[in-house]
Symmetry: C2
DNA sequence: GCAAAAGTGTTTTCATTACACCCATGT
DNA sequence: ACATGGGTGTAATGAAAACACTTTTGC
């Protein structure tokens, strides 16, 4: 590290800053969705964009990402992971701003979208319908989506997108939506149940016009224990 | 993104910068090594640290990482991947500096270490012998090592650490060193050869006091073709 | 001829895949 | 009674793991 104090003294040299941007995934109606905002001010006024903000000088990066998420959704303790830092010189039209991209998984039903001071509108958009976004945000979601696909195969994180209690079919639809391929019902159930990370709620679905499904929830404690013993989740 | 131009105007607010740090892996004598520098100036003068530098305002992040690597080793076209951005408020004692960590894989024999203006010494250190480093660099190598382990299993990148021509045993030793577990010789060979990404050089080792091994090299072209057809490398 | 690493196949075990019918509920 | 999704088992296939001896060279 060749860092020197003088670097902080020059106004001009450091016309630069860093931001966080957050790819917030939700799952609803068998579809993967993203929480986007419509920008109220320039640059890219009126365009859809990822929620994000400049990181304050006295704020950890992760903390900034959490703040953005909480301000927008009101939800705490959300699954959140750093993915990649985007730093092309010209990615921001007003100066040198690199952005650290995070993705988060959220139970869409739990969110009450809070009006945001930087946004005209905040909305869940179907992932498949998104084409253009402000800045390099489209590229950012591609990168985060790839990461989500990999993480979903190698860790018990799908549950973060579902309500506390869910049916096996809901879980399967979620995997199918993210991985973009159909799975065999019997094999999926065998596999996921054999992992011993689900606990039955001893409850049934209600009000459905067919045989009601059993409800399950993720047993985080059991998973942690199994992990200690070298168990590896993989789907 | 809540970015506003005013943010660039305040001297105080933006006493901040970003750097890149590079975890440079090499493989020699059945051991995984890192290229480290001994710091010439404060903070952490005299401590071992990762090679890195402040990113210039007109430089892409990847470009900065490449520059650091080339200045130090003189080698071009090296495997280099961004891993994670470290941004704790207090990680740098002189101000707010976040750092984007990269890892690279290099054929250790190819490197002529170039004296570095920021370092008293530059040296390859055995990974296992490294305990303390300047800043949060120890944590950074842990993170990069985890990433390397995963990447090595899911992509044909081990070759980057070896000379152009290598024996199957050398390759196996490399996998064993990185993954920290012994592999069965016959199974390893069966698997790696069945992947069709090695081509025989029709040459033998020379000057060894035992039966000479065949030399192979990585067939990047064949790999690319196979990948097009949906082939997935996994070891 | 001895030390040292190269090279080579088969069997067993386990995980993955493919596949079709009956069940419980609401209307 | 019918429509809808819930729930279940077995056989076939393919991949991974376990395992030991012969070969070639330098000294």
């Amino acid at each position: 590290m060749a860092f020197q104090d003088e670097l902080f003294k020059s106004d001009d040299t450091y016309k630069s800053a860093f931001s966080v941007d957050n790819v917030i995934f939700g799952f609803d109606n068998d579809n993967l969705k993203l929480l986007l905002i419509k920008r109220k001010s320039d640059p890219f006024r009126g365009n859809w964009a990822l929620p994000g903000d400049i990181v304050s000088p006295s704020e950890d990066l992760d903390q900034a990402a959490i703040r953005v998420l909480e301000q927008l959704t009101g939800v705490k303790n959300v699954f959140l992971e750093q993915v990649h830092t985007f730093g092309k010189v010209d990615r921001h039209p007003r100066g040198r701003v690199i952005t650290i991209a995070y993705y988060s998984l959220i139970n869409i039903k739990q969110v009450n979208i809070v009006a945001d001071s930087f946004a005209d509108k905040v909305a869940w958009k179907e992932l498949r319908s998104i084409d253009k976004l402000a800045f390099d945000h489209f590229q950012i979601i591609q990168t985060c989506l790839k990461r989500l696909r990999r993480d979903l195969k190698f860790g018990p994180i799908g549950f973060e997108l579902l309500p506390e209690k869910f049916t096996l079919t809901e879980l399967q639809r979620l995997y199918e939506a993210v991985l973009e391929k159909e799975l065999d019902k019997r094999n999926f159930r065998k596999k996921i149940l054999s992992m011993n990370v689900l606990k039955s709620c001893h409850e049934l679905q209600k009000g459905v016009a067919h045989r009601p499904a059993k409800l399950y929830s993720f047993d985080a404690q059991r998973y942690e224990e199994a992990k200690e013993e070298g168990y590896i989740f993989e789907l």
